[in-house]
């Protein structure tokens, strides 16, 4: 449909042309023309959230679980400022989303007009790019460009701010295929560096693959090639929190997650390796610990689509700027063409087996209290064969979920890694369920995080989204409490969850189902009841209140100084480390 139309209609038309089927949003004065257009069509399904933060996290969940961009619509002023946390979250985790915000009419901008906020100013540092549209003729091209920017190179959030008069005015629509942009980040790795990498793999005796969210960003082909690559080179592989599922948890060479709460064998392998190949990960401080003691003996190859990720924290010996799938395809091609073989890894694999045998995730189980680890082990056992998607909130439960749940495929695990946003998981589960109506969607939550966006129960009930809210209720801000125990001599300042609601009654008040479980003996039946119920469920799982999450590399410590299990933790963290978070 070419030609002249109003700005509001262009928004809907552009969304359709981009293949958008679901948007998450909340109306208000400055977006009424857009909402009027949404009302008059049936191709795009609008989900009315209960808070704009929820809309953005839902769009993130939708995007991460589908590989498609997520879309949210918010009004000007408070609508836009409520979107800031979600935008920052998406920027940190490289999630492609498009937020469309209303704005005061162009002729009133700068006058402190009703619900005016400098939205492009406020969101400039928390978007990949943003636009304020002052001319309806430029709107359609900009909307298409917004999708292009969000999805290409390193993905990320974008925002298009549309003043109300621009929505009312008519202008010329531009087809998606006629979109003009100069933005075209490089995707193909440098050939000489790829040769160099293959040579390094041929000679390495202690290689390790350190994969991250970039493999998921790159798409299913990247995960497929990664599996081929591991099969061909027999390399042990670990992943960051963001990359779980790219390589299957049941895979032979899987070491588990690495990092601050990662597995002993994964961190020790990183520390002891002679060749580390980083694929789409960004050497976050949760991974490196003490930078100058990070994997001291290894040659480091770093493959990343964003040149600014390379050499930001750790110096790369073999830097390759490119898309994971494209670079892996090239590496495999060269590898096969050269008839390459890996050196003998057997001593290395034996060493890793010894580290594994330490069983670093062991914990003391109880007959009377549900241990959070046990709850997740049972959840895993009862759901792993289903078509399952997991989201999480932020805290200890998030780490335990990463440790105890296994992911066989990419795009099945949605968590807030970089920003660590409490309140992410519930709305994200709403977004995931919208994208996968027939799948099992579970949000593994802590009670404190969950309360931050609990209003989305209304959304779940309204749209009949059978999301399962699996709350590991320790009546504590558990992760904070753990740090206070380790760093502040157990002075538990403000880390209680007081005056908690009765979650079963709360569920019922919203018209959903609530389940309470506190006895380990009842747990399996209770989980089955949750799974069998065709509708949203709040599962209040009362767990051990003082459990600590191990293993743990204290901030500022190298990988081989990891705390495991219920070790004596006193003085484990020194003053220097205490300033780090």
């Amino acid at each position: 449909m070419d030609g002249q139309m109003t700005g509001a209609k262009m928004v809907v038309q552009a969304l359709k042309d981009q293949g958008v089927d679901v948007v998450f949003g909340y109306p208000g004065g400055a977006v009424l023309p857009i909402y009027d257009e949404i009302h008059q069509q049936n191709d795009i399904h609008h989900v009315l959230v209960r808070h704009e933060q929820g809309a953005v996290h839902a769009a993130e969940g939708y995007a991460r679980s589908t590989g498609k961009p997520g879309v949210a619509i918010v009004t000007s002023g408070p609508g836009a400022t409520n979107a800031v946390t979600g935008l920052t979250d998406a920027l940190m985790d490289s999630i492609p989303i498009i937020v469309i915000s209303g704005q005061a009419p162009t002729f009133m901008i700068g006058t402190d007009a009703f619900q005016e906020a400098d939205t492009v100013g406020i969101t400039r540092p928390c978007t990949k790019h943003n636009w304020l549209i002052k001319d309806t003729d430029r709107l359609a091209n900009t909307l298409h460009e917004a999708f292009h920017v969000a999805m290409s190179g390193r993905p990320g959030p974008v925002l298009v701010d549309i003043p109300k008069d621009v929505q009312f005015a008519t202008g010329g629509y531009v087809q998606r295929t006629d979109m003009k942009t100069h933005y075209a980040p490089p995707t193909l790795g440098d050939a000489a560096s790829i040769e160099q990498l293959v040579t390094a793999i041929e000679t390495s005796e202690r290689p390790v693959l350190y994969t991250g969210g970039g493999v998921i960003n790159s798409g299913p082909e990247a995960s497929r090639l990664l599996r081929e690559f591991v099969a061909e080179t027999n390399m042990p592989i670990t992943s960051t929190l963001m990359g779980l599922g790219a390589y299957p948890a049941s895979g032979e060479r899987w070491l588990g997650m690495l990092g601050m709460h990662g597995l002993y064998e994964a961190n020790m392998a990183m520390h002891g390796s002679d060749l580390m190949i980083c694929l789409g990960a960004r050497f976050d401080d949760r991974i490196t610990g003490r930078v100058d003691a990070f994997s001291p003996g290894s040659t480091k190859a770093h493959i990343d689509i964003d040149p600014s990720s390379i050499n930001k924290v750790i110096r790369a010996d073999i830097p390759i700027v490119g898309d994971i799938a494209m670079v892996l395809a090239e590496v495999l091609r060269v590898w096969r063409e050269r008839g390459s073989k890996t050196a003998d890894h057997s001593a290395w694999l034996d060493q890793i087996a010894k580290w594994k045998a330490k069983n670093c995730l062991r914990y003391t189980d109880s007959k009377t209290t549900i241990k959070p680890q046990y709850a997740l082990q049972r959840l895993e056992a009862l759901t792993k064969d289903r078509d399952r998607y997991i989201t999480t909130e932020v805290g200890q439960h998030q780490m335990w979920a990463a440790q105890f749940l296994g992911f066989e495929e990419p795009n099945r695990w949605m968590t807030s890694g970089g920003l660590g946003t409490m309140g992410y998981g519930f709305p994200a589960s709403v977004g995931v369920q919208m994208a996968h109506p027939d799948s099992l969607v579970i949000n593994v939550a802590g009670e404190a995080s969950w309360l931050m966006n609990m209003q989305e129960m209304g959304t779940a009930v309204q749209y009949r989204l059978p999301v399962k809210q699996f709350i590991l209720n320790n009546e504590r801000l558990g992760m904070v409490r753990q740090w206070q125990e380790l760093l502040h001599n157990s002075r538990y300042s403000q880390s209680w969850s007081e005056a908690l609601p009765d979650f079963v009654k709360l569920a019922e008040a919203f018209g959903a189902k609530g389940i309470l479980c506190k006895d380990p003996a009842d747990l399996d039946d209770a989980i089955m009841e949750m799974l069998d119920y065709d509708g949203p469920v709040i599962f209040d799982c009362l767990v051990e209140k003082h459990e600590n999450c191990f293993p743990m590399i204290p901030s500022g410590k190298p990988h081989n100084e990891m705390l495991i299990g219920e070790v004596a933790t006193e003085q484990a963290i020194e003053a220097g480390g205490a300033v780090l978070v």
């Binding site: 005796e205 003490r290 930078v291 001291p296 003996g297 110096r315 001593a347 190298p558 081989n560």
Partner: protein, 187 residues
């Protein structure tokens, strides 16, 4: 295979066996950034520097191609080689940035800055100011009986030197444009 000597809790193979890490020598670089001339682009560049804690010694911006909507931002910055590389990579990520050139790295370049100096004084000091201005090829663009305004063009170092000399002679106000720079040669 080399024997592994890494034990849990041992640090002898970590912190004390360090690879050569990034150099910590500070360097001064002049960057030329060609950008789409659109609202907010300067805010993006400046926001990047302040948000990530990079230094700006000087920054100039002006449209250089009206029909092509291009502006050129010239930034003089200091940092370790790693930080300079980060700055360039981060600038390159900004969507309306077309090109980032490190004039300091790409070969020889010319740098010029224009400055205006107001010098107040009488008698010997006034004569001396005029004499020094002549040596520096600064021109007088405004005169009263007790003041001069000099205009001077040159490298930032030359302008600094002129300022040092004018200070005891009654320097009261300075306006500087910041650096404009181009690479030398035909390319």
């Amino acid at each position: 295979m080399a024997q592994l000597k890494i034990e849990q809790g041992s640090t002898s193979h970590s912190a004390y066996n360090l690879r050569p890490s990034f150099s910590d020598v500070e360097e001064r670089h002049t960057l030329a950034v060609l950008v789409e001339n659109e609202p907010g682009v300067l805010a993006r560049v400046i926001g990047l520097f302040s948000g990530r804690g990079y230094n700006i010694e000087s920054l100039t911006v002006a449209e250089i191609d009206h029909t092509g909507h291009r502006s050129r931002i010239t930034i003089v910055t200091t940092g370790t080689p790693q930080v300079i590389a980060q700055i360039k990579a981060q600038l390159g990520r900004i969507v309306p940035v077309h090109e980032v050139h490190d004039l300091t790295e790409e070969g020889r370049s010319v740098e010029r800055e224009l400055a205006l100096f107001k010098v107040r004084g009488q008698g010997d000091k006034r004569v001396e100011a005029l004499r020094l201005a002549d040596i520096f090829r600064a021109s007088v663009v405004d005169t009263t009986l007790e003041s001069f305004v000099f205009e001077i063009t040159g490298t930032p170092e030359k302008i600094d030197a002129f300022a040092d000399l004018m200070r005891p002679l009654g320097l009261v106000e300075v306006a500087r444009t910041g650096v404009a720079a181009l690479s030398r040669g035909a390319a």
